[in-house]
Amino acid sequence: MGNSFYIAWKYLQFYWGKTLLLILSIALVIFIPFGLNYLVNKGSEDLMNRAEKTPLIVGAKGSETELSLSSLYFKRPKIEALEYREVEKMKAQQLGKPIPLNLKYHVKEQPIVGTTSDYFEFRKLQLKEGRRMAILGECVLGAKAAQKLNAEVGGSVISSPSAAFDVAGSFPLKMSVVGILEETGTPDDEAVFTDIKTSWVISGKAHGHQDLQQVENDSLLLNKSESRAVASPAVLSYTEITPENINSFHFHGDPSDYPVNAIIVQPNDRKSALMLRGRYENEQDSAQMLVPAEVIAQLVDTMISVRDLLILAGVIIGIACLAILAFVFALSIKLRKAELTTMKHIGASRNFIGSVLSLEIGIVLISAIIISGLITLLLGNFGIPLIEKFIS
């Protein structure tokens, strides 16, 4: 056995190019159905896991998939925002805890999640260092966001405009980093968490500026009286919130009118969840309430249908490839007739020659299986985020 293995190994080693090509081809044929199945199953599991941990979502009427994905994966919202009074209404109903999400703004590529401290408890997010946000202008970074933004506790990050041409709508706010979260392997790792009020400052709904009653530079004022001051556009809003200027920050209009992109709802119990869903189905015309697990399950069903088709194609291709492989091996034996005859002449038995050939095929097949397993594992680790990114 040892001799047969030695000769088979030496043969494969001598023709390494041909052997490598054969191994890679077989590995790919095996990977397509099995790897794809694993990848889609793992991806679906992760998607469903996050969706199932989110009982209910409220958002403006529109695409349910858009609303679910933007709330779960912090995708830039494409549907209209709700008014904050929806959160207040839900609090008054006392059927569950509403957690608002404002998702319009980013720090470079990282989404800013304007929310309340309830979100940390809801997702069971633990701090790796620092503390949660306490005052306006503070933020807490997800583990990957901290790495990508190269930020640490005590440092700062600056919000980006919401769109390329939105140079006046929102203004860059320098936020202090007060905490960094433990890595969770979820989209929370990528986010910049801040209080919802800070996200309203970014949007320009709230701002701070010099006290116009105290302004001494006349060029900053167009008109001033005891009860009225008209400032020139030269009076700029503060772009950083500090202990010195924090009291100058004020909200314009009624905060109940301010935008909220989505509301995660933690119902008190099953009955409360049903009552809330019933109310939204009957009464609401501008808002919708959905169960993210149901929406994501539909999405996963679509993915599984596509997967099944691909697996079927993979199996057919695999059978064809195996037939070709059998043919290649048969031809190879014919081509090696002289070599095999020489082996016979020098005393090799029929069984010995058979075992050499079988071992050659065995080594190639086992190597191919190992490689396809490695590709699957590699994609299992790095491919799931790709699938999530692709979907969201």
Partner: protein, 306 residues
């Protein structure tokens, strides 16, 4: 045989009783009285909470060092501590201007003037401004020194009592008894304030600051407001301003938050304006408690009615 069975039954009963006793003792030892951590935003709430809660609560008043806690700017350190609190008692009526700038849980906070919107009074001053692309907007506040109307103060104390009872249900009876005591003495004071007889035809009241809206409204003590500090000196401008306001046909009283400077008092007396002090209880009073200050205020006002 019967005797043996009887004595065995007795033994079992004695052991069972002892075990029950032990169990209840263990249970008592297991559940030590939890002292809820309660934060308050101003002195009147501190007073109500301490009178009702007593030693059963861990009461904290982080703005106690401020002359005017409505202008308190809480640092992140204070807010981090408040995030750990069981209860945060707020005055509402725009008293806590810092509230918009902090991250605190709604369920931990109790606004003691919630549901009294119809009784809230405007500040009486508004400021309109415009800048940048934002357009013109007006900032108008609500008067926040609500406790000077003692009917509102009692209602606020009741909210404090309800919140404390919710936080420590085991102490409900004590809290209720303490509240009743507080309510009775505040009601007595309220009646005395209501019996003040100041004839607006004969007496003119001017207030050094526009902070007495609830006092004026509740007890018929209308008057105009200035922006004078007790530490201000007496000068020509001040004389002109007060002469412009004072009605010579009436006896004029200037109501101060604190004792005015000697020069100011004498200057005012020269032109026939008498200074009286009505402490609006902005900060924690020295050596006196809330009711004592309110009683002192009442005595000052009674001098006018005499």
């Amino acid at each position: 045989m019967k005797k043996i069975i009887l004595s065995l039954t007795l033994l079992v009963l004695v052991f069972a009783c002892k075990n029950e006793e032990k169990q209840s003792l263990q249970e008592e030892a297991k559940e030590p009285e939890k002292q809820p951590v309660v934060y308050v935003s101003n002195y009147p709430l501190y007073y109500f909470a301490s009178e009702i809660g007593g030693d059963a609560i861990d009461l904290r008043f982080p703005a106690s060092g401020e002359t005017d806690p409505s202008g308190w700017v809480p640092g992140a350190e204070n807010i981090v501590k408040m995030q750990e609190a069981d209860l945060i008692l707020l005055n509402g009526a725009t008293f806590e201007k810092w509230l918009n700038n902090v991250t605190l849980k709604d369920e931990d906070m109790v606004n003691t003037t919630e549901g009294m919107q119809d009784k809230m009074l405007p500040l009486g001053e508004q400021f309109t401004h415009s800048h940048g692309e934002g357009g013109e907007h007006t900032h108008e506040g609500t008067a926040s020194i609500t406790w000077l109307d003692l009917s509102l103060a009692i209602a606020q104390a009741e909210k404090v009592n309800e919140a404390l009872k919710k936080e420590a249900p085991g102490k409900s009876k004590n809290f209720q008894a303490n509240f009743e005591k507080l309510k009775n003495s505040l009601s007595e004071l309220h009646k005395n304030y209501q019996s003040l007889k100041i004839d607006p035809e004969k007496v003119q009241l001017i207030y050094s600051h526009p902070v007495y809206q609830y006092l004026q409204n509740a007890y018929g003590l209308a008057g105009e407001g200035l922006h004078w500090e007790p530490s201000d000196g007496w000068d020509k401008d001040k004389k002109q301003e007060i002469e412009h306001l004072a009605n010579k046909a009436k006896k004029t009283y200037l109501v101060w938050e604190d004792e005015p400077s000697k020069a100011m008092r004498e200057g005012l007396e020269e032109i026939g304006v008498t200074s009286i002090v009505v402490n609006p209880l902005f900060g924690q009073p020295e050596n006196l408690d809330m009711q004592e200050v309110l009683f002192k205020n009442l005595q000052s006002l009674q001098k006018i009615s005499e």
